[in-house]
Amino acid sequence: MSAPAHRRARGRDLPARLLGVWGVIVFAFLFLPILVIVMYSFNTGRLLAAWHGFGFDAYASALGNDVITGAVITSLQAALGTALLASALGTLGGIALARARPRALWAAALTFLLAFTLVTPEIVDGIALLPWFVTLGVDGGLAPFNNGMVRLVIAHTAISMATVTFVVRARLAGMDRRLEEAAADLYASPLQRFKDITLPLAWPGIAAGGLLAFTLSLDNTIVASFIQQPGYTPWPVYIFSMVRVSLRPEVAAISTVMLVLTLLALALVGYVLRRSGESAGGVVKTFTGG
């Protein structure tokens, strides 16, 4: 049952080795399809899945294709809008929750509702927002809700706002309340206190939350495929429509570019969080939205 102490200390016994092998296998499993996509982005054939030869043709033709670049630009614009709106709402919500009294009813209710948005399957968000936008925009005559970009930003904010709120709340949870009280005692107005004390303390959480909202929006297929309007097809929805017709290597080429950009953005988030003194576990918790 227990190996000799000196062997255990070195951690080179059989169970530890088996665990190490398992770790390598799982990593291979996790990276296999990503490597395949990156590899097939260099496919010079006409169809993505049928390997023809190695070349950069797909990158060239993808960048020259207006439909593809248009879809990527739509996605980036929607992601930027989502990041801004979700950070604004999430910051207010997060600060309010962090400041709330321990048993405040409104805080518990808001936390519950936001958690509920996190656990609702995306398909439900999609089918709920489609009739809602039609009700508001077509039946209600509120023209902005017929605009494809407005719809994307609103829908993506609805699914990512909870993440930003929880990240900001977590960031401020350990904040020293006396800082704000001291500012109040020194006759700082509420607005000054917010601007000079609370915001600087919360900002790593806000920045991380905003970047998370950006990537969540960029990744979203399901909700966007329901609420999209002609002329505002985001990138994942474009790929999804191509799955039914035929996938070409261009899809893999742009995906590889987007992957590299996403990784850079995430490295930035991790860097910001680490610099603000977050532990490794805290960074992971932030990334998973809990």
Partner: protein, 320 residues
């Protein structure tokens, strides 16, 4: 007076967030529930609400739909269990066995698939599992397969796809929980004479229980509503409820029936979660009863009444 103003000020700060959740989440979802009591009057209208009934729910309960519901439930349960079986040893290895200076890097690597586009990852599997793909060729050339690989567009492919797509969501909370258990606590347990397995079962795993629970939730709930994986890998055989719901809105234009399906999906999901939570509590109760006997047998009797939660077991493991 100042106190009351401050409290009001705090709640007021959250008003925009409240308004947004109510207006763009609660109201739309309530509308779906409302539509589910309506009907589709003719080919050109998506829904009508002049006669309310439960007829759409009766329609959902017909065998063709119900079999897809059950298939989805099976894929989700099997997927969650497989993620757990793959994830627990992996997270344990990452949190306990890997050297701390390497841990951050490996963790960052787990995050890469998590943040790669979901659809694109699934497309990767479509290429891998294709009958004319390289995996198929490889398996044939080493003699493991007689003919081309024949699992793309089947339920097996969907099962592989969902396990892959949701595995990071299982690993991350497991890692956080096992990491929190901490090296110090495990060392203490070891120093106090507990063997490796005893430390694993009485310190590390009980401490990881919240992580296991949240990992299962994070995998199971989105999996029930997933329709991208099944659309890309499933074909006609491996369809899931998400596709049924989507087709009612996109092609059949029957919002009433689609809404009823969505409501049933939510109820199914919550019921399964409640059932699992109940079973979990029962298992914990049984586990504690068993350990209470174990503890009283060779320890001071006063510790018998002390173990209320999983942490109590931990303290015992460490304090003996």
């Amino acid at each position: 007076m100042r106190l009351s103003r401050r409290i009001f000020g705090t709640a007021a700060l959250s008003f925009p967030t409240w308004a947004y959740v109510l207006f763009f989440f609660i109201l739309p979802v309530a509308l779906v529930v409302w539509y589910s009591f309506g009907y589709k009057p003719d080919a050109f209208t998506t829904h009508a609400m002049d006669q309310l009934s439960f007829d759409r729910y009766a329609e959902v309960m017909q065998p063709t739909f119900l079999s897809t519901f059950l298939a989805t439930l099976r894929i989700s349960v099997v997927g969650t269990v497989l993620c757990l079986l793959i994830g627990v040893p992996f997270a344990y290895w990452l949190a306990v066995k890997v050297r701390p200076e390497r841990r951050m890097l490996l963790l960052a690597l787990v995050l890469v698939p998590f943040w790669t586009n979901f659809l694109v990852r699934t497309l990767g599997w479509q290429i891998i599992l294709a009958p004319e793909g390289f995996l198929s060729g490889m398996l044939q050339s080493i003699g493991l397969l007689g003919g081309p690989l024949d699992i793309l567009y089947t339920r097996t492919a969907v099962q592989i796809g969902v396990v892959y797509n949701y595995l990071p969501l299982m690993i991350l909370p497991l890692f956080v929980a096992m990491d929190r258990a901490g090296a110090t606590l495990r060392e203490a347990s070891r120093d106090l004479g507990a063997g490796r397995w005893r430390t694993l079962f009485q310190v590390t795993l009980p401490m990881a229980m919240p992580g296991i629970a949240s990992g299962c939730l994070l995998v199971f709930i989105p999996l029930m509503g997933d329709y991208v994986t099944a659309s890309v890998l499933g074909g006609a055989q491996g369809s899931m409820v998400g596709q049924l719901v989507a087709s009612q809105f996109n092609t059949a234009q029957n919002w009433a029936l689609g809404s009823a399906m969505a409501v049933v999906l939510i109820i199914f999901t919550l019921a399964a979660v409640a059932l699992a939570a109940g079973l979990g509590l029962l298992a914990r109760w049984a586990f504690q009863r068993y350990h209470r006997i174990d503890v009283t047998a060779d320890d001071a009797p006063d510790s018998a009444g002390a173990d209320v939660g999983g942490t109590a077991i931990t303290t015992e493991g460490a304090s003996r």
